[in-house]
């Protein structure tokens, strides 16, 4: 999985391309920890190019959500693809992780 991020005006956007599984999940956790430590706690993870996620990847998203909220911010996900949506739905985590059509819309309301 290729992970990268850019800090925008009011939030940081992480792009995650590839498979979010037990191999890449720790790298995502590290990246979010670094971003939060650098002072950005409003984070959107752009999943447009995430073709696959397993329960390890889901666990990382939940951990990252907690890290962002503990720092007073929030973590949102955007451009969710069918397999990821399926995993979110079957685990009822679609009610916990707020999903937006695009990264730009994720923090567009506040």
């Amino acid at each position: 999985m290729d992970l990268s991020y850019k800090v925008k005006d009011s939030y940081a956007e992480i792009s995650a391309a590839g498979r979010l599984n037990m191999v890449s999940a720790p790298k995502l956790r590290e990246m979010v920890a670094d971003i939060v430590a650098s002072g950005s706690s409003r984070i959107v993870i752009n999943l447009e190019e995430t073709a696959f996620m397993d329960s390890s990847g889901l666990g990382a998203l939940i951990g990252c959500l907690k890290a962002a909220r503990q720092a007073g911010g929030d973590l949102r996900i955007a451009a969710v693809q069918p397999q990821v949506q399926m995993v979110l739905g079957l685990t009822s985590m679609d009610k916990v992780l707020t999903s937006y059509p695009s990264a730009a819309e994720a923090f567009g309301d506040d």
Binding site: R19, M22, F52, A60, K66, Q83, M86, L90, S92
Partner: protein
């Protein structure tokens, strides 16, 4: 007996890299079994990766020999089956196959519940120092 139309097998050290190899085998399998509907591919592949990840993360060696991950996937016209094995592994603790999906902010513990939600049957077998999870999905969607 229904003919096997496509099959892939893999056996290698139970390390994280093995998971990428399982993904590759699954992608190649669908090339040989193009009749399998997209929804079945997606659900079955997710279950297989969950089971293989479980071996890599949790299997404990039975002796000094390291654990190996084995994956044997077969496709018939009506059924997908995967045998996901931990070779040279200790017998796992009793598994609560009816474990409910954890809720809220739990960061782990969803793997088995997710597998059960994705496939038709999940069975476990231990024989000769090998733990095998057999996942099946049938019938296939139209």
């Amino acid at each position: 007996m229904t003919d096997i139309l496509a099959r892939r097998t893999l056996r290698q050290a139970a390390l994280p890299e093995a998971i990428e190899a399982v993904h590759t085998e699954l992608d190649e399998l669908w090339d040989d079994a193009s009749f399998v509907p997209d929804m079945d591919r997606m659900t079955f592949a997710t279950a297989v990766i969950e089971a293989a990840s479980n071996v890599v993360q949790h299997a404990v060696p039975e002796s000094t020999k390291p654990v190996e991950l084995g994956v044997d996937i077969s496709v018939t016209s009506i059924r997908l089956e995967a045998r996901v094995s931990a070779f040279d592994a200790a017998c796992p603790d009793p598994i609560d196959t009816d474990a409910a999906m954890p809720d809220g902010e739990a960061e782990s513990g969803r793997g088995l519940a997710l597998i059960r939600a994705l496939v038709t049957t999940v069975t476990f077998k231990r024989q000769d120092g090998t733990n095998t999870w057999i996942l099946s999905k049938s019938p296939l969607h139209d």
